[in-house]
């Protein structure tokens, strides 16, 4: 029986209808590495929010550009790298909402970045030559 590979990449169009497949692929990969289900659900949700954020905020002229999601197993952590062509938006520098105030305000949107930065251990962002790279690490 072949060993589970330590690296996996999903290339997907900017369509929220394709995100089920992304979630399933990430979850299957992590289950193949016997990762705790609680950790898997945090990674699954963070990847989802990162990609939804790209899709919902990208310019119409970028809609044909694909998004790359790479999942890499390291010694004691999982590294997720999300790469896309687009404008510079550093979500690691965005102000996080006070969730009690957010809850009381009744706002429907604006929690995706909070999800990512709360559920993952480290989040790094870079933007070079119109390529945005988001690296998210979860300890296992």
């Amino acid at each position: 029986m072949a060993a589970t590979p330590n690296n996996m990449t999903v290339v997907l169009p900017r369509l929220t209808s394709k995100l089920d497949l992304l979630r399933e692929t990430i979850v299957d990969f992590l289950k193949g590495h016997d990762i705790d289900e609680g950790i898997i659900s945090r990674i699954e949700l963070s990847v989802y929010e990162a990609v939804v954020n790209i899709i919902e905020h990208s310019r119409p002229e970028y809609r044909d550009r694909e998004i790359n999601v790479e999942c890499t197993m390291r010694d004691n952590e999982v590294l997720i790298t999300v790469t896309n062509y687009g404008d510079n938006f550093d979500l690691t520098k965005a102000d996080l909402p006070d969730i009690e105030k957010h809850y009381k305000s009744g706002k429907m949107r604006g929690l995706g970045i909070y999800f990512i930065r709360t559920l993952m251990d480290t989040v790094e962002y870079s933007h070079v030559d119109m390529i945005s790279t988001l690296k998210m690490v979860k300890k296992i």
Partner: protein, 116 residues
């Protein structure tokens, strides 16, 4: 395509909705439309049973927050029931467990509305 299930029943003055499947960016608009439909029809006390909810993204949570805000301005509220462990862990990690009122069962959530 993500699967989302929704049903609702009346228990006296309390509307109990059961949601299941995936509540994400694709399915949240449907949930938003359904729950606002309940409010438009006069529902003020809503119990949301989450026993069969497998996944909730920020878009889904946003629908609950927004609907609760509409209800609170009309003297009502959404209370959550039968949340499974997977969803409960996410609510805990994100801090929403202390903001929504959670109950073990629909009946306990329904009873909690007595006097409101």
């Amino acid at each position: 395509m993500a699967v989302f299930q929704y049903s609702s029943t009346k228990h006296g003055g309390v509307t109990v909705i059961h949601i299941g499947g995936s509540l994400d960016a694709e399915t949240s608009p449907k949930f938003d439309s359904k729950i606002k439909g309940e409010i438009d029809k006069g529902a003020r006390k809503i119990v949301c049973n989450m026993a069969h909810l497998d996944y909730i993204a920020s878009a889904g949570l946003g629908v609950l927050i927004a609907a609760n805000d509409i209800l609170s301005k009309q003297g009502g509220e959404i209370r959550l029931s039968a949340m499974n462990e997977k969803i409960k862990k996410i609510f805990k990690l994100l801090g929403f467990i202390r903001l929504f009122k959670l109950f073990e069962s629909d009946q306990k959530a329904i009873d909690s509305f007595k006097g409101l």
